[in-house]
C-alpha cells in the first residue's frame, strides 16, 4: 500500500501548490472554508495563483491583499455578513498590490464549469445569464443556440483546477473523507481538479470512513495530501464541530478598510503565526469555546450490512 498521505499544511502547500497554480477553495460557500490552507499560501508567499470558487467569504480577499492572486474565477468576492471586500476593491480599482484579472461568474456558471470538467465534457449549456453582461466581461463563454430548436444558449467551458482544497469533518490517511452539512460545489470541484488537498478536523481510521461510502466526497486516489487541521476553517463554521465567528468577519471588515489596516491584520493573524495551532492560541480559548457545539444532533443509523 502507498505510504500515508498525512502531512503538515506547510508540506502540503510546498509540495502541491506551486506559484502559478490554479486552486479551487471555499467551495461549500460560507461553511467549511479552508482558511488554514489559505493562510499557509500567504505565509509561503505564493504568487500568480488563479483562485476558483463560487463565493468567497473573505478568504479570497486575504489572498488578493497578500499578493498571491493573479486571476479570480468566481461569482462573488466579499464578506457575506458585512458587505464589500476591501482588498478585492483595491486590487481591481487601483491595482494594489498588483492588478488582478477577474473573470466574473454566477454561482451556477462556476458550478457548471467544474461539473463539466468532472464529466469530461468540454462545456455545459445553460439559459442562465442570457442577457447578463457577465458573459461579455468573462470572455470565456460562448453564445450558441439549441441545435434542435434554435433557442439561444450559453456554453460554459470546463474549468480544471490544478488543486482543489477541501475542509472536511474527517478523513483517513489514505484520503477518504466525510464532509456534511451544506456542500455547495465541493464535489464538483474535487472531481474537476487534477488533485485534492484535504484539511480535516479529525483523522479517523479507514474503517470509519468506509463504514459510510455514500458520504465519501471524492475518490481517495485523487487525494494528494491529508492535513490534520482542527479549527482550520475558523471563522467559517463546520457543522457538528464549531459555529461561525460572526464577529471575526465584522472585525476583518472594519480593520482592513485601509491597506495599512490589512497589513496589520495579516501580521496579527497570518504572518505573525507559524501555523494553525498558533493562530488558535492567539484567538484564545474563551473565544474558541464560545463557538463550541451546544447541542449534538446525530444522523439516524444506516445499516450497510448484508
Amino acid at each position: 500500500m502507498p505510504s500515508t498521505k498525512v502531512m503538515t499544511m506547510r508540506e502540503a502547500v510546498e509540495r502541491f501548490i506551486p506559484d502559478g497554480a490554479s486552486v479551487a477553495l471555499g467551495l461549500a460557500l460560507e461553511p467549511l472554508i479552508p482558511f488554514a490552507a489559505g493562510h499557509e499560501l500567504i505565509r509561503q508567499q505564493r504568487r500568480n495563483l488563479t483562485l476558483i470558487g463560487p463565493i468567497s467569504d473573505i478568504l479570497f480577499d486575504q489572498l488578493i491583499g497578500a499578493g498571491c492572486a493573479h486571476k479570480v474565477q468566481a461569482a462573488w468576492v466579499g464578506n457575506v455578513s458585512e458587505g464589500l471586500a476591501h482588498n478585492y476593491r483595491r486590487a481591481v480599482e487601483q491595482g494594489i498590490p498588483h492588478p488582478l484579472t477577474v473573470e466574473e461568474h454566477s454561482n451556477f456558471s462556476i458550478a457548471l464549469s467544474l461539473l463539466a470538467a468532472g464529466l469530461g465534457a468540454p462545456y455545459l449549456p445553460t439559459k442562465s445569464l442570457l442577457g447578463s453582461d457577465i458573459p461579455a466581461q468573462n470572455g470565456t463563454f460562448r453564445q450558441s443556440s439549441n441545435p434542435w430548436t434554435g433557442d439561444p444558449l450559453l456554453l460554459i467551458p470546463a474549468i480544471r483546477p490544478d488543486v482543489t482544497v477541501l475542509h472536511v469533518q474527517r478523513a483517513d490517511e489514505d484520503g477518504h473523507a466525510h464532509a456534511w452539512g451544506s456542500l455547495g460545489i465541493c464535489e464538483e470541484a474535487a472531481l474537476a481538479a487534477e488533485g485534492i488537498i484535504l484539511e480535516a478536523e479529525e483523522i479517523a481510521p479507514r474503517e470509519t470512513l468506509l463504514s459510510d461510502p455514500n458520504r465519501v466526497i471524492a475518490p481517495a486516489f485523487k487525494v494528494l495530501a491529508v492535513v490534520h487541521e482542527p479549527g482550520g476553517a475558523h471563522p467559517a463554521p463546520v457543522q457538528g464541530c464549531y459555529n461561525r465567528d460572526h464577529a471575526f468577519y465584522r472585525e476583518y471588515h472594519q480593520q482592513t478598510r485601509t491597506l495599512d489596516g490589512f497589513h496589520a491584520w495579516q501580521e496579527h493573524w497570518i504572518t505573525g503565526v507559524a501555523n494553525r495551532q498558533e493562530y488558535l492560541a492567539r484567538l484564545g480559548s474563551e473565544r474558541w469555546d464560545a463557538l463550541a457545539i451546544k447541542t449534538h444532533r446525530y444522523a439516524a443509523p444506516v445499516d450497510y450490512g448484508y
Binding site: 461568474h105 454561482n107 447578463s132
Partner: protein, 253 residues
C-alpha cells in the same frame, strides 16, 4: 416617526410577495427573515431553496448571518449540491426569487459587479453570487435595495442580473425562458413593472415618505402605477415575529 424601521417594512413587503405553497429561492440578508415571516403568517406551506444547496419547509430557528449558518442546515429537508438546487431553478420550479443589488435601472436590471468603466471600475462590487441565475431563471423576481439617486439609475453600467433589459420583449429575444422582476422593494417604496414595456412603476410608497421624495431620489422620471397607494404598514404581529427573528436588529435596524 413610525414604530418600525424601513428594513422591517421591507421585510414585511418581501414576505407579502410570497404566496402560500410557493417554492421560493431565498437570497441573502433580509429575505432570510422575510421567508421566516411569511412561513409564520400567510404562507405556512411555502418552501425555501437556498443556493448553496438547501431546501427547507421550516425557517431556521435562529437568526441567520449567512444562509450557510449551522442552524439553517440542521432541520433542512434536503442538503444537496448547489447544482441540484440551481437545476430546480433552471427547470422553472422556483415560483419566486429574491435578490439584492447595488444599482437598479428603469427596466429592473441590476448591477452588483462594477460601477464605471468595466476595465477600470470606480467601484468593484462583490459580483453576482447566485443573483444573476435567480434573475434569469425564477418565474418571478423580487429585488431588495436601498433607495437613492445613486442606486436608481436610468441605465446601469453593468447588467449583472437581467431585468427587462431594454424593455418590451427583450427577455424573450435574448433567450431567457421566463421571469423578470415583479417587485423592487426599497427603503422608500415598492416598484412594480409595466407588463407591456417592462418599465418600473411606483406601486406603493412607504408611509413615512412621499411620492415626490421617491421621484426625487430616482435617477429617471419614475412613472406611477395606476393603483399607486401607500404601503400597508406592518401589523403588530408581523413586527413581533421580525423582532423575534432578529432580536439584536442585525439586519433590520
Amino acid at each position: 416617526m413610525p414604530d418600525y424601521t424601513p428594513q422591517e417594512l421591507m421585510v414585511v413587503c418581501a414576505a407579502r410577495e410570497i404566496q402560500d405553497g410557493e417554492v421560493v429561492f431565498v437570497g441573502m440578508r433580509l429575505p432570510l427573515i422575510a421567508f421566516a415571516l411569511a412561513k409564520r403568517t400567510h404562507a405556512p406551506n411555502a418552501i425555501g431553496l437556498f443556493e448553496l444547496g438547501l431546501v427547507r419547509d421550516a425557517p431556521s430557528p435562529e437568526l441567520l448571518y449567512t444562509m450557510g449558518d449551522p442552524p439553517n442546515i440542521l432541520g433542512a429537508e434536503w442538503a444537496t449540491r448547489m447544482v441540484n438546487v440551481m437545476g430546480l431553478l433552471a427547470q422553472g420550479r422556483a415560483d419566486l426569487g429574491f435578490i439584492g443589488g447595488a444599482e437598479v435601472d428603469r427596466y429592473g436590471n441590476l448591477n452588483t459587479s462594477r460601477i464605471g468603466d468595466w476595465n477600470k471600475p470606480t467601484v468593484k462590487l462583490p459580483g453576482s453570487g447566485g443573483g444573476a441565475d435567480i434573475a434569469s431563471l425564477a418565474k418571478r423576481l423580487a429585488v431588495i435595495l436601498a433607495h437613492d439617486q445613486r442606486r436608481f439609475r436610468e441605465r446601469v453600467d453593468f447588467i449583472t442580473s437581467p431585468g427587462y433589459g431594454e424593455g418590451g420583449n427583450w427577455r424573450t429575444r435574448v433567450g431567457l425562458p421566463r421571469g423578470g422582476p415583479g417587485a423592487v422593494i426599497t427603503t422608500l417604496g415598492v416598484l412594480g413593472f409595466d407588463p407591456e414595456t417592462g418599465e418600473a412603476l411606483l406601486r406603493s410608497y412607504h408611509p413615512f415618505t412621499s411620492v415626490e421624495h421617491i421621484q426625487a431620489n430616482t435617477g429617471w422620471p419614475l412613472r406611477l402605477a395606476p393603483d399607486l397607494a401607500p404601503t400597508p404598514e406592518p401589523t403588530p404581529e408581523e413586527l413581533r415575529i421580525i423582532r423575534e427573528c432578529d432580536p439584536q436588529g442585525f439586519w433590520t435596524r
